[in-house]
């Protein structure tokens, strides 16, 4: 039985719906709200929070969903994207769920949305002041690749001791003559905390720097919230002689809209083996 069927049955039987506005209870929302304000006050720092069980499995965007539900109000207009697409499974399911438990209006347009939940992309169109972008984060700890202990990474963040990450980058260069981090490329926020920007491509990293909108990151499984407020310095880590660089598509254009200045997905036809490229941000691609 799905949620709407259950709700209809409850109403038919004269019972009230036993969930509050935006599904999670007010006590849980209050805790998420307290932690969200702390996250904004300390840009890039991971604030622990009591992640609740949600009607989707952990690892499928529960952190982002909890943030969205704690933020959303009846007047909001919501957009949800998954790898840039408005119509993929994760985005559609989250949209349907939030719409059912809040009744908010949905949109595909960035400029129209007041709240955007995203999995692994930043929309191509820049956000304006007042808009909030909520990221779904699988692994919030940028140092996890170099240090398995949570206690030790806490110490490292506390002391701003990021030497092991720099060494990791150096070893990459020695071995491959290139920094081999595709997505989740670490950034320094406000020149103090190293932050995992979630698995966005390198292409999106520069868009975190001095943005006009607010970026919130929620990791449900790992129980962490962090934030990048507007007009905040966010710099991808790099060496003087090995600079950070974004993906290079070699001048290939989107086969649908013809743009050459967007992040592209490579599509391989199973039968012919032909390779085509289309914009990852489907709403932006359709807006011509």
């Amino acid at each position: 039985m799905n949620l709407s069927t259950w709700l209809q049955q409850q109403e038919k039987n004269g019972h009230q719906a036993y969930y509050t506005f935006a599904f999670i209870d007010e006590g849980a929302k209050r805790e998420i709200r307290r932690k969200t304000l702390k996250a904004i006050a300390i840009p890039g720092y991971q604030v622990p929070f009591g992640s609740r069980d949600m009607p989707i499995a952990r690892g499928w965007g529960t952190g982002g969903l909890q943030l969205t539900l704690a933020l959303i109000g009846p007047e909001d207009i919501l957009k949800v994207i998954d790898q840039g697409a408005d119509d993929s499974v994760n985005a559609v399911n989250i949209k349907k769920f939030v719409s059912q438990v809040t009744g908010v209006r949905l949109t595909n347009q960035v400029q129209e949305a007041t709240l955007i939940q995203t999995r692994h992309r930043i929309p191509e169109e820049p956000l304006r002041e007042g808009q909030i972008l909520v990221f779904q984060v699988p692994i919030p700890e940028p140092l996890r690749a170099v240090e398995p202990s949570e206690r030790e990474t806490r110490r490292m963040h506390g002391e701003a001791d990021y030497s092991r990450m720099w060494l990791h980058l150096y070893e990459n260069i020695v071995q491959f003559k290139e920094i081999m981090i595709g997505s989740r490329y670490p950034v320094m926020v406000h020149n103090r905390f190293m932050m995992d920007p979630s698995p966005i491509p390198r292409w999106d990293n520069p868009r975190l720097h001095m943005a006009e909108g607010l970026y919130l990151f929620g990791a449900g499984r790992e129980k962490r919230i962090y934030a990048v407020p507007p007009y905040t310095s966010v710099k991808s880590i790099e060496f003087e002689d090995y600079k950070f660089r974004v993906e290079d598509f070699g001048g290939v254009a989107c086969s649908r809209c013809g743009r050459t200045n967007t992040f592209l997905n490579e599509i391989i036809d199973d039968e012919s083996g032909k390779r085509t490229f289309i914009c990852s941000d489907t709403a932006f691609c359709s807006k011509l």
Binding site: L37, I40, A41, P230, Y231, S233
Partner: protein
């Protein structure tokens, strides 16, 4: 769905905006013009406090502390143990010296200070033009837009936030139903005698 949950959501969104843009004044949606001082404080307290956190009260109006407890069921404790410290007026009179500023591993444990500025004529009634704020959320250095602030208290906050990321985050509420935030990431500079002085 209960309509009573909407006000706290609206207040929270105003607090998110205010924390994201330190120094700017925002209007609190549920504040009553007839009793702005009490209603704005209780609205923010009801949005953020509950039985899971503790608060301290600095001021003479004990009734207000009791009203906060009645509305939120948050425990009233000493300043050093408090997650939230409510200050009546614009001066903590040195009582914030013992406030919890968090630890290097958990800086988020630093307290949040809520100033209920009364606008009763004893306080500065125009924005402080010699105080400049900069840092995350601020595009160009700006003066705090709220009236009723005290330079001495801003100086005190600056000292408490001297070892960023340790520190305190401040929410200011005034008698015009306005709210303004100064999180610990905001740098406070005071312009004195026509020359720039970085506070020690």
């Amino acid at each position: 769905m209960h309509s009573s949950v909407y006000p706290t959501q609206k207040i929270f969104r105003v607090l998110v905006e205010a924390t994201s843009h330190p120094g700017r004044g925002y209007r609190l949606p549920t504040c009553r013009e007839s009793d702005p001082w009490r209603t704005s404080l209780l609205a923010v307290a009801y949005t953020l406090l509950d039985h899971e956190v503790a608060f301290a009260f600095i001021g003479k109006n004990i009734m207000l502390a009791q009203q906060v407890y009645a509305a939120t069921k948050a425990r009233q404790v000493a300043v050093e143990d408090a997650h939230y410290v409510i200050v009546e007026g614009n001066q903590s009179l040195g009582q914030l010296n013992n406030v919890n500023c968090g630890t290097s591993a958990y800086p988020d444990q630093g307290a949040t200070i809520i100033y209920a500025l009364s606008n009763d004529g004893r306080e500065q009634q125009s924005p402080l033009t010699n105080v400049f704020l900069s840092g995350p959320g601020i595009k160009e250095p700006l003066n705090p837009q709220l009236t009723g602030l005290s330079i001495e208290e801003l100086n005190n906050i600056h000292h408490l936030n001297g070892e960023y990321p340790l520190g305190i985050d401040c929410i200011f509420l005034n008698g015009d139903c306005q709210v303004m935030c100064i999180p610990r990431s905001t740098e406070i500079k005071i312009h004195q005698d026509k020359k720039w002085d970085m506070l020690p």
